[in-house]
């Protein structure tokens, strides 16, 4: 499909990348297949499961509902970049400690979504946490451990005890 190829450039996890992509290539396919950033997962490819959640220009998006070409000039952050930067280290530690993941396939998207809630500050209620994560499907945990982990990090960041 070279006749529909587009040259795009963006910053991904702080690195500048310039690639030629098919117009139809989704952001998550570009990240996974083009850049080998396999931490963002593909679960449903129609915007329901949230496994492909990444950050574009500071906002979380579904990597399967956005085209790579739409990210020309954007700043994209994935689980790999957020991990290496240390921004979500406390969330990751809480997920590990609380066993808030089993198969782990939803986890990168879940943590990116949780960080989106927590970066606003304050200690959200459990209902608010559940509501914010309601676009991220987890088949394993039943969600309670995830809510516990996110709540404990919110409290810790606010200076309270976990």
């Amino acid at each position: 499909m070279s006749d529909t190829g587009l040259d795009i450039a963006m910053t991904v996890n702080g690195e500048r990348v310039a690639e030629r992509v098919d117009a139809r290539t989704t952001l998550v396919d570009f990240l996974r297949d083009g850049l080998m950033l396999t931490g963002s997962h593909v679960g449903c490819e129609h915007g329901v499961c949230g496994a492909c959640t990444v950050r574009v220009n500071g906002e979380i998006v579904r990597g399967c509902l956005m085209l790579a070409a739409q990210c020309d000039g954007a700043k994209v952050e994935t689980i790999e970049g957020l991990s290496d930067a240390g921004e979500i280290a406390d969330l990751q530690a809480a997920f590990e400690q609380r066993n808030a993941l089993q198969c782990g396939f939803c986890t990168p998207g879940m943590i990116v979504a949780a960080q989106d809630l927590l970066k606003g500050g304050g200690v959200p209620s459990r209902d608010t946490i559940r509501e914010h994560l309601s676009g991220n499907y987890c088949r394993c945990t039943g969600y309670q451990a995830i809510v516990d982990a996110v709540e404990s990090v919110a409290k810790a960041r606010a200076g309270g005890k976990t």
Partner: protein, 798 residues
């Protein structure tokens, strides 16, 4: 950090210094997953790897008249277009039968349909291309002429004389039938005070693993060897099947299973498209990758639970249950799934109904029929959600009928805690269960009396809340009785190898697999405890048929109980071997020594004698300094299979508290409780999270999930926007409690915990909804899932 640790394990021989048994140790493999550094099969990329996409039948039943692949073959990036007839030359077909399910029959199934497609979604042609997108593009160019055939879609009429037979070679649409008649059911009806009868229906649903089924097959023509990267629960089983149907030896097939994005029974079966992918790799002599997309998952991942159960209970005024009777009918698609068969779920329903109770009169009939829908097979808690919902639904109906509290009625009928060993009316053998202790624990934990008072008070304000219960038993730790005796090459034993490295660390190699349930943590805990090192010094290796002892993998809640015991025994064996070397080095008797915290110590005083690092250094690098005749054996393998009991039954009881909005029909889940007895608890956090996750899957069945088909066999809601799954906002917090009755079949005493949640939750939710609506005179809700529409209909509002 709220970590539930509400029960201490029973420590006997396990009570070693530095024991990790019974501790909520974090899993060793989590960090890579939280950082996005896991390796799922969908992440695997190999040199020369091609991608396959399948053209799938749009019809539920059709003759394949002609396949024209010329245009597809010329499409950009296409490497090959392969039909079923062509692939049949590479791989032999299979038939999903087991000899111990007497009379069970099925038809040969090919990796890609040959001549006839039998369900909507069956692969009819393969397109292999450089990228998945190119393969999908070319699929559009494959031109297939179909002659549509009549589709059998209603199990109720599948056996009627005028219904077409799907497979002419097997004469009718009956796959399997079982009848059981124990005690005197008819006499019980005559002498009872009440007989209650209803028909339960269970929606056909599916696993919806977050990672779809994925496989990369790599045939190396130079080595004459197949390496398969597969998200599977049972690598050795798959090794056997790939070898068998490609006519290879086991040693020519390696199955590698790294991270698996959810399985729940979905990934323990033979899928035609995965078999085809392996065959295509052999045909094309290069790696081929197949990752199901979500739509493909809905029409090809096994479905489960499509059962209709007519059921009856007889009860006396004093609450004594005198009879259970069921007639189960289930439609399993056009083939019995290989190699576990599609007769097991109905067979389990027959086995399990009435299981927690003393009632000796039981009659059952189950019929399993073929239909032209996607295949059904074993999914988490196989048969249990149906049997438990039928039994517990009947029990609560009986309680309501005679005006007795539902917990009290259970107290009067549950098998007494001191009655073991015993068996159920259906013949299930129970070593030790704890129904009454579990019930008492639950009663206190949920403050049942307080909730009833709250419920009554709120009713007067027009708020309709319900409380529902479900006692249950669960099959775990299966012996060969499950599959092996029926002729399947599915091992019930498992092996573990523990070895000492040259720095004094150990690794555990096990035949069980990690599906996210925490199997690797359990192995590390058990091996560290048995051998005597800090858990940080244990590395776990699973999911590789080249590098693990032969084992069954993960299914039927067997990993901890069977694989864990093998690791325990192997750890003990290596400790003995290491102490023999230490004894030689220290001129001490080995039985006067122990290994604690990575150091050989004097067993009685605990005085440190020799660090493992030093022992390993000498044994590996200066064996010349050991006394003559001393040969260090620093690797030990042990295998384990339960022999005392065919299955280690667990038991428990769940409760649901919910509120029904009688104007909208929506159900709000307020709280859920579960008290469970899985024997020795190796890791309380992992057990509780298995229970919670399992409960939420069961809630999905009760409230949301159903694969909807029209009368032509077309699935109507094969996407995640239309097929609803439980999401965070609707789920309740779940409180877990435990009773601990270890099995004496193993030293660890651990039974399985993976499916209890799913077994009991649908029944609980059903009973709670009916309890909520009972004062309104609503019709009984016994047709899962309980959607708002059904609830409003039961209330007579629509």
């Amino acid at each position: 950090m709220k970590i539930v640790e509400d029960s201490s394990p029973v420590l006997t021989a396990l009570d070693r210094p530095n024991s990790y048994i019974g501790r909520a140790v974090p899993r060793p493999n989590l960090k890579r997953l939280t950082q996005g550094r896991g390796q799922y099969v969908s992440d695997v990329n190999l040199p020369r790897m091609a991608h396959v996409a399948y053209v799938r039948s749009p019809h539920a039943h059709a003759r394949i008249v002609k396949i024209d692949k010329a245009a597809a073959e010329k499409a950009p990036g296409v490497i090959a277009v392969v039909t079923g007839a062509e692939l049949a030359k590479v791989m032999t077909p299979w038939v999903g039968v087991l000899t111990h399910l007497k009379g069970l029959k099925s038809a040969p199934q090919a990796p890609i349909a040959v001549e006839r497609a039998c369900w909507q979604g069956e692969a009819v042609c393969a397109v292999i291309a450089r990228t998945r997108a190119q393969a999908e593009d070319a699929c559009e160019l494959v031109s297939i002429d179909y002659k549509e055939l009549p589709a059998v879609t209603d199990p109720e009429t599948a056996l009627d004389a005028k219904t077409p037979v799907i497979h002419a070679a097997i004469n009718d649409n009956l796959c399997f039938e079982r009848k059981l008649d124990v005690g005197k059911v008819d006499d019980a009806y005559v002498s009872s005070d009440a007989v209650i009868e209803t028909t339960f229906r269970f929606g056909r649903h599916t696993g919806v693993t977050n990672e779809p089924r994925s496989i990369v097959a790599d045939w190396n023509e130079g080595e004459q060897r197949m390496t398969v990267y597969q998200g599977t629960q049972a690598p050795h089983m798959m090794q056997d099947l790939f070898a068998k149907h490609l006519n290879l030896r086991h040693d020519q097939v390696r199955v590698v299973t790294k991270d698996v994005g959810g399985s729940f029974g979905i990934k323990v079966h033979t899928y035609a498209d995965e078999m085809a992918t392996v065959a295509l790799s052999k045909l094309l002599k290069r790696p081929v990758k197949f990752v199901a997309d979500r739509i493909e998952s809905f029409v090809t991942d096994i479905h489960a639970r499509d059962h209709r159960v007519r059921a009856k209970i007889a009860v006396q005024k004093d609450g004594t249950i005198t009879a259970f009777e069921i007639d189960d009918l289930t439609g399993i698609g056009p083939y019995s799934v290989y190699p576990r068969t599609s007769g097991i779920e109905a067979n389990q329903v027959v086995n399990l109904v009435g299981g927690p109770y003393t009632c000796a009169n039981y009659r059952a009939q189950a019929r399993v029929v073929f239909t032209n829908k996607n295949v059904m097979c074993q999914y988490r808690a196989v048969g249990h959600p149906i049997a438990v919902a039928v039994t517990e639904g009947l029990v609560e109906l009986a309680a309501a009928k005679i005006g007795m509290d539902p917990l009290e009625l259970r107290r009067r009928n549950l098998i007494a805690d001191d009655a073991y060993p015993t068996q159920s009316a259906s013949g299930l053998k129970f070593e030790k269960l704890s129904h009454h202790e579990a019930l008492a624990h639950l009663d206190a934990m949920m403050n049942y009396a307080g909730l009833r008072a709250e419920q009554m008070k709120l009713r007067q304000q027009g708020v309709y809340r319900g409380i529902g219960f479900a006692s249950f038993i669960e099959v775990t730790n299966p012996s060969a009785a499950f599959y092996g005796v029926g002729g399947a090459h599915i091992t019930s034993q498992d092996g573990a190898t523990v070895k000492l490295d040259a720095q004094g660390n150990i690794s555990v190699h096990s035949g069980i697999t990690e599906q996210g349930q925490g199997a690797e943590a359990v192995l590390a805990q058990v091996a560290a405890s048995a051998f005597g090192v800090p858990i940080e010094r244990v590395r776990v290796v699973t999911g590789d048929t080249d590098n693990t002892p032969y084992g069954g993998g993960t299914w039927a809640s067997r990993a901890a109980g069977i694989g864990g015991e093998a690791a325990w025994q192997a750890g003990k064996a290596l400790r003995a071997n290491v102490l023999a070397v230490a004894g030689a080095m220290l001129q001490a008797k080995p039985d006067g020594l122990d290994i604690r915290n990575g150091i050989v110590v004097d067993a009685t005083t605990g005085n440190e004698r020799l660090p493992l690092e030093e022992l390993a250094r000498v044994a590996y690098f200066r064996p010349d300094t050991l006394p003559s005749g001393v040969q260090a054996e620093l690797m030990a393998t042990r295998h384990y299979v339960p022999r005392g009991w065919p299955f280690a039954f667990t038991n428990g009881i769940q409760a649901s508290y919910l509120e029904v909005d009688v104007d909208t029909g929506f159900v709000k889940l307020l709280k859920h409780w579960c008290v469970e007895d899985c024997g020795t608890i190796i890791n309380p956090q992992l057990v509780d999270e298995q229970i919670r996750g399992g409960i939420v899957q069961g809630i999905g069945a009760a409230l949301f999930e159903q694969c909807l088909y029209d009368e032509r066999g077309q699935m109507l809601n094969g996407n995640m926007a239309d097929y609803l799954v439980p999401m965070a906002a609707e789920m309740p917090d779940i409180e877990c409690g435990h009773v601990v009755s270890p099995t004496a079949d193993s030293e660890l005493g651990a039974k399985g915990a993976g499916e209890a949640g799913t077994a009991g939750a649908p029944a609980c939710v059903m009973n709670a909804i009916n309890d909520a609506l009972r004062p309104l005179g609503a019709k009984l809700l016994v047709d899962m899932p309980f959607t708002p529409g059904k609830i409003l209909a039961a209330l007579g509002k629509v």
